[in-house]
């Protein structure tokens, strides 16, 4: 059986055990908490995201209503944004049914200032395909939910149990044709981030 053959060959050929490095230096070195929101905003905007600092859900609703035509299919995972299809009620539907979704709105508790990434688990998404299949994606995050770097992000995630999770840092994009950046490859054509004060 190949399993035993591979494991035996690896065991025979691997060198004497070497220790894991100390991660603490790196973690503390990068733990600079000065104005993470403005750093996040700069990086995320450079990566093609639209970042809005808002005071409440009414502001978010106003922006969405302004950006999207009435009647388009919008799925929201937030109780506070109940004018739309609630993700919880459709999460067991076949993912193919979401092919006509115009906008998915999700909420996260974790954003990373150094790279614009937002952490979303299956639980935040409702259905795994929703943040990908929608033409546009919006994510709501509290202003205190940012960490400086990925080092702290994984400290926050810790040993969390999830079936699926993703860091999403912008709209879907590609530069495969002559290195020209094009927004809107296979996933959402835009990412709007609402930072709640």
């Amino acid at each position: 059986m190949s399993r035993e053959k591979i494991l035996a060959a690896v065991k025979f050929n691997q060198p004497a055990a070497l220790p894991l490095p100390d991660m603490e230096v790196l973690n503390t070195l990068t733990d600079v908490r000065t104005d993470l929101v403005s750093k996040y905003k700069t990086i995320a905007t450079a990566g093609g995201s639209f970042v809005y600092e808002v005071n409440g859900f009414d502001e978010i609703k106003a922006i969405i209503n302004n950006e999207f035509k009435p009647g388009v299919k919008i799925i929201s995972a937030l109780d506070e944004l109940s004018d739309y299809i609630y993700a919880e009620t459709v999460k067991h539907e076949d993912g193919h049914n979401f092919a006509d979704v115009e906008l998915t709105v999700l909420r996260t508790q974790l954003g990373v200032a150094e790279n614009g990434a937002l952490w979303l688990t299956e639980k935040d998404m409702g259905s795994r395909v929703l943040p990908f299949i929608a033409q546009h994606l919006a994510v709501v995050i509290g202003k205190d939910n940012f960490v400086p770097t990925m080092a702290q992000a994984y400290q926050v995630i810790g040993a969390a149990d999830y079936g699926y999770g993703a860091f999403i840092s912008g709209p879907s994009k590609t530069a495969d044709i002559e290195q020209s950046l094009v927004i809107g490859a296979h996933g959402p054509r835009s990412l709007s981030v609402f930072i709640l004060s």
Binding site: Q14, T149, S169, I177, H186
Partner: protein, 462 residues
Amino acid sequence: MSTTTTKDHPHLAADFNRDEPRVNWHDETLWWVRAKRDIAAHKLPEWELLRETASQIKFNVLSNLSTYLEQFEANATKNGIIVHWAADAAEHNQIVHSLLEQRGITKMVKSKSMLTEECHLNDYLKDQGIDVIDSDLGERIVQLANEPPSHIVLPCIHKKKEEIGDIFHEHLGSAKGESDPKILTETARQHLREVFLTRRAALTGVNFAVAETGEFVICTNEGNADMGAHLAEIHIASMGIEKLIPERKHLGVFLRLLTRSATGQPITTYSSHFSKPQDGSEIHIVIVDNGRSIQLGREEFRNSLKCIRCGACMNTCPVYRKSGGHSYHTAVAGPIGSILAPNLDMKKYADLPFASTLCGSCSNVCPVKIDIHDQLYKWRQVIVKEGYSPKAKTMAMKAMALTLASPALYRMGGKTGRLVFKYAPFAVNNKLNPWYNQREMPKAPDESFGEWYAKRKGAKNS
């Protein structure tokens, strides 16, 4: 899809070099990516500490690989993922095929996986009557062009937008002469969306597999891996045994390094962590050896298994930039490919370790500190010792060694050379001399330093 070739790197590079403006464009485009990498790296004061940490984690992985593999298997299985083991490319391909066959699936969508390129999976499945569509834009382009990728991160970096426009016009019905990247990308989006929505099987690669949790991570900018995987009933993930990392927190090191090194972005758009299958679907992982355990046993070359496939060594390499990815005639081109390939087939890839100036730039940009240029040098020695070096090169080296070992022969050789340069330049300035390709030979001095010195000394003494 793979072009079988008997030509070696110098000949394939010579083909690429026929079109000088294109070579310059290719060179500049990749150097621009390298420059973006530098900007991203220099923004982090802790960059060197990150590289060192990543390097040490990978050393730890290689030294405990059998334990981590078993741990990963146990945890992934606990999560409901089905784990398969493949000793070589053939077994990998058979496993993938049987998974599809059992379910009566004849069409599959695939996101980027250099391992499947290494295994020539697409060709194999095609022969079995399975239709595979690559969903990464660059890979789809080269697939339609019937070519292999020329770069592990930028698969169609060798193609001009006008050529891509022609390919899309022929295969995807875009307007004739259309070459706007925005419009071509939109054409691909519509075409591939239809593919994602109609495929029951999706195959992806794996960037990192976490032993501690049994999850694996896939990084894309386009979102194509997720679109394929979440809409399919079966998600097959192919990974080499070296993709393991010990703990989830180590992702915090590698995800900071990977994309900054690859394209200069601070992170890819999507870093997707697959831990359990979603309701009603399956995840299968195929863990592939295909020569990696042998490389692990080669003390001087095992560090090559630390590679995280960022492509930085290719973007910086003066030889890669000016010879193109296809000149390496292997799935992974460039400096890293040149130290991985001889392990798989020393005779077939004997030319690759010589496709380098040994300038060391590859080692300097490597995010996991692989001593790439040292390994290139060491492979040369192994290849010559094993008798796989080109005959002409061996003869020339022997003649050179003899000449340098004898002062009389050395003086005679120098004199002859100067005379030939002066009176019979056509003897060296011709097509038979590879050093003359793309070069002007220098003007030879009238006398050697030795002769000048002897004369000067004589004049002083008189």
